[in-house]
């Protein structure tokens, strides 16, 4: 089991990333809190060592995405939360950024992870393919298609 200091350091370092991944998958704060508890409890109990910080980050991304997918797949969740609903974004967020995030969140589920990982975390398509265990060509296709969709939604041409 990991020490309290190590876990608190990981929470401070990766909580924002986990929060963003939760935002693109989930609809409410209660589910986000569930995922936080699940992900960091797994981190506490994970006995393997991480070779690098990048390795640790990739592990947390995978665990978070899987935890979100598991929650979405649960029968209870399917019956109680509308899948089309878009989560509420912070009220104090500038309208232009809010529009961008709403455009991302309105994308079909399969595009959201690659958009976040590529545009925000700056992972390349091969890195994303390893992270998500998808074919690299599939990732390229998803990225191209998501750029087109965002361009259509936002009416701009700057998504390169």
């Amino acid at each position: 089991m990991r020490s309290e200091q190590e876990v608190n350091r990981a929470i401070e370092q990766y909580a924002d990333m986990v929060r963003r991944l939760c935002m693109i998958h989930l609809k409410n704060d209660a589910d986000t809190e569930d995922i936080f508890q699940t992900v960091f409890l797994k981190y506490v109990l994970h006995t393997g060592s991480f070779e690098t910080e990048e390795h640790e980050k990739a592990w947390l991304i995978r665990v978070t995405i899987n935890a979100c997918k598991d929650l979405l797949k649960s029968v209870f969740y399917r019956r109680t939360v509308s899948m089309d609903e878009i989560p509420a974004l912070p009220a104090e967020m500038p309208p232009e950024e809010k529009d961008i995030l709403e455009a991302v969140l309105s994308l079909p589920q399969k595009y959201k992870d690659v958009v976040y990982l590529h545009f925000y975390e700056a992972y390349t398509a091969p890195q994303i393919s390893r992270l998500l265990k998808k074919n690299v060509n599939t990732v390229y296709t998803l990225l191209t298609r998501s750029k087109q969709l965002l361009r259509e939604k936002l009416g701009g041409d700057g998504y390169e």
């Binding site: 608190n8 401070e12 704060d29 967020m93 961008i100 998504y159």
Partner: protein
């Protein structure tokens, strides 16, 4: 635009309250980070339940006597036989019986081996040679196993003099055990009491079967004769040559 997308994501932050609640949850869940990783014992429950069922079921099947073999000369002993025809208990019903039981090594052997060992026991052969009477009772629930054992014992004792085989229902044996008698002695006691109501258990407990038979003969004024019925003595079908000499 990429920068704007990045900036939009950047504005999404984990609230301090959420982080603190997560830290508190983990502290509580790990018992202050002292708890060792728990083994998921609940996953073992079905396996343990099956194991216990097999163990206790097997134990019950093996160690539940289905037939008792009561052997009386003067040593009175009773063998508990399970459904697999193995001797699972040997009990002496008087001092001689206890001595005989202690000298035998027949537990977990088949009942045929056990009966043969008793018949070839030095003390028993000496008694039989001295014209003592041996009764061997098969006490069961009138099932196929009891019938088979009775038949086997009859063939085992075919060459023995003064040996009687009989069958008795297990319900009748309870009374015998309540009186501290083996079933063979109990049957003799009941028959004797019919002739002399003053007779007590203590009086016959250490009498040999020959002495009991002789007493019955003297009380009834008749030589050793067999009584009919399902549980009467001497249904040994020719095994009592010595007794009638």
């Amino acid at each position: 635009m990429n920068d704007r997308l990045k900036q939009a994501f950047h504005n999404i932050r984990a609230e301090e309250a959420l982080k603190n609640r997560t830290k508190a949850f983990l502290y509580h869940k790990t018992n202050g980070y002292t708890k060792k990783r728990t083994v998921p014992y609940h996953r073992l429950i079905p396996a343990i339940a099956c194991f216990l069922l097999v163990m206790f079921g097997g134990y019950w099947l093996y160690f539940t006597p289905t037939v008792a073999i009561s052997i009386d000369v003067n040593p009175s002993i009773e063998l508990g036989v399970n459904r697999f025809d193995r001797v699972i208990s040997v009990q002496g019903y008087n001092a001689d019986g206890q001595t005989l039981a202690d000298s035998l090594d027949i537990k977990y052997q088949s009942y045929t081996e056990a009966v043969n060992q008793i018949l070839s026991n030095e003390a028993v052969t000496a008694l039989l040679a001295d014209n003592e009477v041996m009764t061997i009772g098969v006490i069961g629930s009138n099932d196929a196993q009891s019938a088979k054992i009775l038949s086997e014992i009859q063939s085992c004792t075919a060459g023995e003099a003064n040996t009687y085989c009989y069958y008795a229902d297990s319900d009748e044996v309870k009374k015998a055990h309540e009186m501290g008698l083996s079933y063979g002695k109990y049957r003799a006691f009941v028959a004797l009491q019919a002739l002399d109501p003053a007779i007590t258990v203590a009086e016959i407990q250490d009498m040999t079967m020959r002495e009991i038979r002789d007493l019955m003969d003297s009380l009834s004024g008749q030589p050793d004769t067999e009584t009919g019925g399902n549980h009467g003595f001497g249904r040994g079908q020719g095994h009592r040559r010595g007794a009638e000499r």
